[in-house]
Symmetry: C2
Subunit: 296 residues, 2 copies
């Protein structure tokens, strides 16, 4: 199997589903429905949905059935990007090679489009199509985990500490808090969602949880490294912006080569966690390797 072909196929599936599930851009009131789609369809990798689908497939789940819930993860990721880019937060003008949502649609619409995407995620997780395919008790568990992950004990907590640490010297445990909460938590939850909806047993959920924790943190360390070294065109945003805002990053705290070693160790842990699955887990293994070799 060629990983790029696999990722592209899954991305196409997710993109088509997102377009189908989201309110049409022409629906009244148009401004917010257009703003909800602006960054969403500006070419993300769909890493979180792909992880949910791949973890689900690994334990015998049905990709089509998991698809709406997997899309909810991308909506939450996109809402967090829109709000993080706001002038009061990171004040970014570009994202995925496009103007950020507030630059394109104004600040009020950007706040509301983010709010709407977050809300829409929970609508999708509880929609009729999903309700028909899974036991309601499992769905409630998944909704609860997604809500916890997106909340002040997860992503929002990470973002708060990230903003409050700007320009301050912080220690490695606090940096790990920021990264595991702001980015790692939703990646972990994506893997666990796929496992649960795919019908994984407790042993399988345990193994996939260790996998998700490792790649979640590895992903953010690589993001930090790309921000130092990356190429503007490939990334679609300005590299070096973290340094300008003196944000806490792994390269800043541990140096570039130590950060790379850390990311490689985490990928090795991710691979190890998948051992019980044998060659069935090759896709997830390759995704872990992709996470640290990616250039964007």
């Amino acid at each position: 199997m060629n990983l790029n072909v696999y990722l592209q196929e899954k991305k196409d599936l997710v993109d088509a589903a997102l377009d189908r599930y989201l309110p049409p851009a022409e629906k009244f009131p148009r401004s917010v429905h257009q703003a909800m789609r602006h960054i969403l369809f500006a070419g993300g990798k769909r890493l979180r949905p792909v992880l949910a689908l791949s973890a689900g497939e690994l334990v015998g789940g049905n990709t089509r059935n998991i698809l709406p819930c997997a899309c909810a993860l991308e909506l939450i990721h996109t809402y967090s990007l829109i709000h993080d880019d706001l002038p009061a937060m990171d004040n970014d003008d570009y994202r995925r090679g496009m103007l950020t949502t507030h630059k394109q649609f104004g600040e009020a619409t950007a706040v509301l489009a983010g709010d709407a995407l977050l809300t829409e995620a929970f609508r999708l997780l509880s929609c009729e199509e999903v309700k028909e395919k899974f036991p309601a008790g499992v769905l409630i568990e998944v909704i609860n985990e997604v809500a916890f992950t997106a909340g002040s004990g997860g992503m929002i907590g990470g973002q708060v500490v990230d903003i409050e640490s700007e320009g301050k010297e912080i220690d490695p445990p606090l940096l790990e808090y920021i990264h595991t909460h702001k980015t790692g938590a939703l990646i972990l939850t994506s893997v666990r969602m796929g496992a649960k909806l795919g019908g994984a047993n407790a042993m399988e959920i345990g193994a996939l949880t260790r996998y998700g924790e490792s790649i979640g943190l590895a992903f953010q360390i690589v993001d930090d490294l790309l921000n130092v070294e990356g190429d503007r065109e490939e990334m679609g945003k300005s590299p070096g912006t973290d340094a300008v805002q003196s944000k806490a990053t792994y390269p800043h705290l541990l140096g570039v080569s130590e950060s790379k070693r850390r990311a490689e160790d985490l990928v090795a842990s991710a691979h190890k966690a998948l051992e019980p699955f044998g060659s069935k887990a090759d896709v997830l293994k390759e995704i872990a390797t992709f996470v640290i070799s990616r250039r964007y």
Copy 2:
């Protein structure tokens, strides 16, 4: 029964539950947990949770069991106030007699505290305590209705059109769209949530839906009237701010006396919808009357 005593008892119940279910103010990261509580505990009427509890009781439901879900409604209402007050939206400095969240904690924290309250609502609706008390299928339905109501087809849609109509002449149908979506939808959903969790049959849900639609719109018309006539001290915010921003309101469009008549008609419809319940529905009847006689 004295309505004021009843409302105060229910408000105390809801306040204690909100304090119990929300992350403590001291929990790391403190700023966002304090900001989440700032306006929430500045003395709201808890109308939405009270409606859910009262509708639930009417059809034989258990108040204690419905309480966490009722609290979720107040979290969504409060998140919408925090985001609506932002400089990019209504740019309000005071709310419930206190500084608005962005004035007290800064804009970034206010955006994130609103996000966190919205997310926390869905965590509460799917928490272990709730899962133990209700069939999972009913909870999924309730979650889906709340998500739809809070989304771009409900509250957010209403807020978008409200902002975009500022300073423009709008017609009565558009004004009704704003009011039914921005305010009415969550009031209706509060009543319906109580009915569904209380185990209402289809006829009861139908009657309570008509009740909820009527008081939802009546509530917003009275809000418009209070904004023209209200007393600053009783309201805790500046009356007349809508006129300053030339917002679309019923008194502006229909005049004060015609708006009052409209609100009274709606309360009469609400009373009529409750007829099948007989005297058991006296509390909900009195709440409808309270909605148009309130001074704050």
